[in-house]
């Protein structure tokens, strides 16, 4: 049968992408069964996605950093340090939150550009440059929290970024209305953009997947969006964290897939010399990607501080490793030029699901680390094996 063949071919061509979604699906289903449904409950899913937020934004930035063959080990303590600065500005300096957030993001960009200077301008290996940054910002975090210890943040708007939910505009059948509206808009937008892409392709006489498979794909993804919306609407609705992560993902996904800038980033990762000879400014791209990374680290710091409602002396510890792990689970390749922003998000959710599920099951922390390490290794092994056979 033709449809069957086409499906097989599709799966073969996209095994790496589909593999990740299937893995996530299996992990979720398994935990759900083992916890008798607690895992997929509205409350837990909401909690899980929120706890993945501050790593997810880092993983997005880290993916691009790894795509251009660099690494940034400083992001954890940059997040911790800038989170503490945010708390200080809010609580001790009494600045308005609408000033604090842009300031913190701008500080992040400046730190990133400094990293970019070391790497692009002076040619210092990113590993070393960012290792130095890691030590410096760890020290800086200790320094600014030295006098006070943990800084409690009492600012409702700020804390809402980590704990709060979008307003409901009323409840329908005990479901969060605005969340449902956003979900429906999301589905509509998805269907519209898929149809438009397909229509364009047909106009140009390009191959498209056959109608039944296209319909199945549309329905399946719409159902998933609808289902997640439905679950979350049954608790408090979409959280601000989730909205921020979605926003970051959409913007970065768009930039990396649809824009000249994105193409240049991947070209630099794929072959820096060839990129240079193609007229691409490799230094500029390095600055941009490192700048974006630290800006996202700043955002991560804000989300984390808001989530804990306080800035602690150890905030940011090991974030960088979680972000790197998420990026690799999401399919980035250290050889450069390969890796997707959406992959990073899925990677972050996979890792967060593991932690969350194992916590629910009461698995000891020692086993948790080992299992997460195993999953990371497994994902990369799968990656290498499928890439070898790829097209």
């Amino acid at each position: 049968m033709k449809i069957l063949q086409e499906t097989q071919q599709l799966i073969k061509d996209n095994i790496r992408d589909y593999g990740m979604y299937i893995a996530l699906f299996v992990i979720m289903l398994t935990f759900n069964m083992m916890t008798d449904g607690t895992f997929m409950s509205s409350r837990n899913i909401s909690n899980l996605l929120d706890s993945a937020g501050y790593i997810a934004v880092l993983a997005v930035g880290m993916t691009l950093v790894i795509v251009i063959r660099h690494i940034d080990l400083s992001v954890g303590y940059v997040a911790g340090f800038l989170g503490a600065i945010a708390a200080i500005l809010l609580m001790q300096q009494g600045l308005s939150i609408y000033l604090v957030i842009p300031i913190i993001l701008a500080l992040g960009i400046i730190i990133g550009l400094a990293n970019g200077f070391l790497i692009a301008q002076l040619g210092i290996p990113a590993f070393v440059a960012s290792l130095a940054g890691m030590l410096i910002f760890r020290g800086a975090l200790l320094k600014v929290t030295e006098g006070t210890g943990t800084i409690i943040v009492q600012n409702e708007v700020f804390n809402a970024l980590g704990n709060g939910f979008i307003p409901s505009l009323g409840m329908v059948n005990a479901r969060h209305l605005l969340t449902i509206i956003i979900g429906v808009l999301g589905v509509l937008f998805f269907v519209y953009s898929e149809l438009k892409t397909r229509h364009d392709k047909v106009k140009y006489n390009f191959d498209v997947i056959s109608v039944p498979i296209f319909a199945v794909k549309l329905t399946l993804i719409s159902l998933i969006i609808a289902y997640i919306t439905w679950i979350l609407a049954g608790y408090n609705g979409f959280s601000w964290t989730l909205m921020i992560v979605l926003f970051v993902t959409i913007v970065y996904h768009f930039i990396s897939n649809k824009t000249v800038l994105g193409r240049q980033i991947y070209a630099v990762g794929s072959n820096p010399e060839a990129a240079h000879l193609s007229g691409i400014n490799v230094k500029k791209i390095t600055y941009l990607v490192m700048g974006s990374m630290s800006m996202l680290a700043a955002l991560s710091g804000i989300l984390y501080t808001a989530r804990l409602q306080s800035a602690t002396t150890t905030a940011g510890m090991l974030f960088e490793l979680d972000a790197i792990a998420a990026a690799y689970v999401g399919g980035v390749s250290s050889a450069g030029g390969v890796g997707k922003v959406t992959g990073a998000i899925i990677g972050a959710i996979v890792m967060a699901s593991l932690t969350n599920g194992m916590n629910l099951l009461g698995v000891g922390i020692s086993y948790q680390y080992m299992i997460r390490g195993g999953v990371l290794a497994g994902a990369v092994i799968f990656d290498v094996l499928t890439r070898k056979r790829g097209k």
Binding site: K12, D200, K258, N281, K391
Partner: protein, 506 residues
């Protein structure tokens, strides 16, 4: 009758979407020099990779009979163990290691797991003698020219007691002298009883030293020609290769008009801070509209450096002198400035700095002019695909689709993608650095035809080439470089091989 050393029977090898080899039969007799020839993508490299175990037993169909036994190589070392050594199309040496370390890497001279370096050096000296190479074993590979590196590769093969030596386009990157040298060596090895399989697009070589030549086309064996039967001459080979007669190697150019000067170099010098010397010295050069100028010279004469110094200076040389474009002196800060000014540079080393091997044909073609397929920085994917299709068809790029990763194309087809990428940029001045390296006769003809069409449209071309034939056949004027200087200028009437070589070796 000589003994058969190798017989490959009904070899079939498929990659997703391509049947690279389709029931290929290939028979080699002991002690002969056997050439494999065929167009780009015919399957020559793939056949040799099957033989050497790069594609292990089980990934292909058919039998490999070597020295009378059916062999099942599961890894490359299995073939090395029975005396088969292969030197790949792309050199596989470690630039920062010394000559002796490179020769014995993977085959260390050791006792109880501990390497005996002194003995290694002594043995390496022997090997160097065998390949007639006079360099110190301690020299670093990166300090040697490509010609010598190629000989090191052979020395490395010889150190493994090789019986069957396979060379995949060994002379593609070599100039005439070095090529000659290498061919002499191969004949020498033959006398010592080493069988040799060689892949080459340089038919002159085939005629010069082949005992037999097997021709592949589209993954199938067409025939095996034998010298003993007087079958090996360029015409016959070409006929079998492309499946039709080809009467000329260089296409005729309609008499075209040569316009005003479009680019001029005046007293142009480039100093390489890392090497600590001038790579280009006091060069004066002129390029007119609608003209092809050839730049000839030996390896290391500074031709590529000259091109780079004009093309936005990506290596950060210290520049002196004037670069004048359309009567205006220009200073490029970046390659992007040069591209904006209408220049394009197709690099000599397509894998190293020409292409994005992990990306598909589409993305490679559009890379040098992303603005051309974008509105307000947002890419129009459909437009991009159309353009890629256009170049795939017009340049006859052989690939399963434009989605194919460029790293998986055959060498010649990669070169065409590289060319397509720069044609898309729509230049007025096209610099081609060794444009036909590793390209088959048919494709060469196509590329020359494209060049002619371009100059007829008013483009100007600077062609850097080590192949004297092509320099003479295609250029309106020829500049000869040596040691960073332009040693002379010849017009198409007065230029000939002797004059060029004389200037180049002055």
């Amino acid at each position: 009758m000589a003994k058969t050393i190798l017989e490959m029977d009904n070899i079939t090898k498929t990659f997703p979407g391509v049947k690279a080899l389709d029931n290929v039969n290939f028979k080699v007799e002991e002690g002969e020099i056997h050439f494999l020839v065929g167009e780009n993508g015919a399957g020559k490299s793939t056949l040799m990779k099957v033989l050497s175990g790069v594609y292990p037993y089980g990934e292909y169909e058919g039998d490999i009979v070597y020295q009378g036994k059916v062999q099942q190589f599961h890894k490359i070392n299995d073939s090395v163990d029975v005396g088969i050594a292969i030197i790949y199309q792309e050199l596989a040496l470690f630039p920062d290691l010394s000559v002796y370390e490179n020769i014995y890497i993977g085959n260390e001279v050791k006792h109880n797991g501990i390497i005996n370096w002194n003995q290694t050096i002594v043995k390496a000296k022997d090997m160097l003698k065998k390949v007639n190479l006079k360099v110190k074993p301690e020299t670093l590979i990166k300090d040697l020219g490509v010609g010598k590196q190629q000989l090191i590769e052979i020395a490395k093969a010889l150190s493994k007691e090789v019986k069957l030596l396979i060379l995949d386009e060994p002379t593609a990157a070599l100039n005439e002298d070095d090529s000659e040298n290498l061919l002499e060596l191969i004949k020498e090895l033959k006398k010592q009883g080493i069988t040799c399989i060689m892949i080459s697009h340089k038919l002159k070589e085939v005629v010069a030293i082949a005992d037999k030549a097997t021709i592949l086309r589209d993954g199938q064996t067409i025939c095996t020609l034998e010298k003993a039967k007087g079958e090996i001459d360029e015409k016959t080979i070409i006929r079998h290769m492309v499946g039709r007669e080809m009467n000329q190697i260089y296409p005729k150019r309609e008499n075209h008009e040569i316009g005003d000067t479009i680019l001029e170099l005046k007293n142009w010098s480039a100093y390489d801070g890392q090497l600590g010397r001038h790579v280009v010295k006091n060069a004066d050069l002129k390029l007119n509209r609608g003209e092809i100028i050839g730049i000839s010279g030996l390896m290391g004469a500074g031709r590529t450096e000259l091109a780079l110094s004009m093309f936005g200076n990506p290596k950060n040389y210290k520049l002196k002198g004037d670069l004048v474009l359309n009567q205006q002196p220009v200073h490029f800060k970046h390659t992007s400035d040069a591209i904006k000014a209408g220049m394009a540079y197709v690099t000599e080393d397509r894998k190293g700095n020409g292409l994005f091997l992990l990306q598909n044909i589409t993305k490679n073609v559009s890379a040098s002019k992303l603005q051309g397929i974008a509105h307000h920085g947002i890419i129009n994917n459909n437009e991009e695909i159309k353009i890629a299709e256009h170049y795939k068809n017009s340049l006859h790029i052989k690939a399963s689709s434009i989605e194919q990763l460029v790293g998986k194309l055959s060498g010649g087809n990669q070169q065409k993608v590289s060319l397509g990428k720069w044609l898309f940029a729509g230049p007025n001045i096209l610099i081609l650095d060794e444009p036909t390296r590793g390209i088959d006769v048919g494709a060469k003809f196509e590329i020359y035809t494209v060049m002619n069409e371009l100059v007829e449209k008013g483009l100007s071309i600077i062609m850097i080439s080590s192949e004297l034939g092509e320099v003479l056949g295609m250029s309106d004027r020829v500049y000869v470089m040596a040691e960073g200087e332009i040693k002379g200028e010849l017009d198409s009437q007065s230029a000939d091989q002797e004059k060029i070589m004389e200037l180049a070796t002055q």
